[in-house]
């Protein structure tokens, strides 16, 4: 039984907030460095592979890692963790947000607005833009991610358009349209100039692999089975076979949903500090 069993709700809230405060407003140096380094490495793959310095198979592996890893710095920016509006480093927050997801072909404004809706309506089948990743198990989650990327799919990135229309931000769809036109335009130009295999293995296929990985660890695993609603039940802690780094820090996703402005690198520490409080709250923390 939790040591905090019987503690009043007001006291639990106070204790939880006290811990959260210790982790807020910490500058995420690693996420900022990660954003620029990751993008620079991915961009450098193109000349390295085209000039024969790096073999294509190695470029493919690195590019797949780059695409899978590119979302999280933007995620820190989406929650204003790097710098809040009106502060001196706000430009850096926005720069990281815009640049880091270029390999993923995901515009910052689309990512930010839909992600904030996910936080507001987590696990709501009608209103959570990420609810389409719900699946019965790991293999089903991977298959669902692939199915959500089909042209006629209702879920995945396609459901983001519906979310943007619902919240009155259809204007942001232009960002997505321009990103997609640029992405396909570059792929077509490379393909017809004799570099289709390079384009497929440095961008097209890594993007699919990255999206699958992101859907699996950032959306499916931390919310599974994605049936409960409410801030203490809509997500969980879990044990990933690749560990916390391999799951891109998502083992402690429950802390992120409760306190979205805690930087990713502080969520493990915050989790272990508030675990008993979460247990007393009836949170799903049995795996860790």
């Amino acid at each position: 039984m939790s040591a905090l069993a019987g503690t009043s709700e007001a006291e639990l809230i106070r204790l939880e907030r006290e811990i959260a405060r210790q982790h807020l407003d910490k500058f995420p140096y690693f996420a900022v460095a990660w954003a620029f380094t990751n993008l620079a490495v991915w961009l450098s793959l193109w000349p390295l592979v085209f000039t024969g310095i790096l073999p294509l198979w190695a470029g493919f592996l690195i590019a797949s890692f780059n695409v899978a890893a590119c979302y999280l710095p933007s995620h820190e920016a989406q929650h204003d963790i790097i710098a809040r509006p009106g502060t001196k480093l706000r430009w850096l927050n926005q720069l990281v947000g815009h640049l880091s997801t270029i390999p993923l072909v995901l515009p910052y404004r689309v990512a930010r607005l839909t992600h904030l809706e996910h936080h507001t309506h987590a696990n709501d089948p009608a209103l959570d833009p990420d609810h389409s990743t719900q699946a019965s198990g790991p293999l089903h989650a991977i298959w669902t991610s692939i199915q959500n990327r089909q042209p006629g799919a209702k879920g995945g990135l396609n459901s983001y358009a519906e979310t943007l229309k619902r919240i009155g931000r259809a204007d942001v769809l232009l960002d997505a349209a321009l990103y997609n036109l640029a992405f396909y335009g570059i792929l077509f130009a490379l393909a017809w100039s004799g570099h289709a295999i390079e384009a497929a293995l440095l961008w097209w296929l890594p993007r699919h692999i990255g999206l699958t990985y992101i859907h699996y660890y950032l959306s499916w695993a931390p919310h599974h089975p994605a049936t409960d609603k409410g801030r203490y039940r809509d997500t969980r802690s879990f044990r990933a076979i690749f560990g916390n780094i391999g799951s891109m820090g998502m083992q402690y996703h429950i802390v992120h949903h409760l306190h979205p402005r805690i930087p990713l690198y502080r969520t493990p520490r915050a989790y272990w500090q508030m675990r008993e409080i979460l247990e007393a709250r009836g949170c799903r923390v049995d795996e860790l």
């Binding site: 042209p151 349209a177 289709a196 295999i197 097209w204």
Partner: protein
């Protein structure tokens, strides 16, 4: 302009089949050193396979 963009994106599966899959298939055939029957050019094979695959994706709303 926006209508044109919307139109292009609507027909993207078909365009992708011809614009990307066709040259990709052709270059894979060439890279693998495969000789197609009846002297069919790799690009012709790519256009047929990529075009048909893109057309069915456009029609059915799914690649696989």
């Amino acid at each position: 302009m926006l209508k044109l963009v919307g139109l292009v994106l609507h027909y993207m599966p078909l365009i992708f089949g011809i614009g990307f899959l066709a040259p990709l298939i052709a270059q894979l055939i060439e890279r693998a050193g495969l000789a197609l029957p009846y002297g069919i050019a790799p690009l012709a094979a790519g256009l047929v396979i990529g075009g048909l695959w893109g057309a069915q994706a456009q029609f059915r709303g799914r690649w696989i």
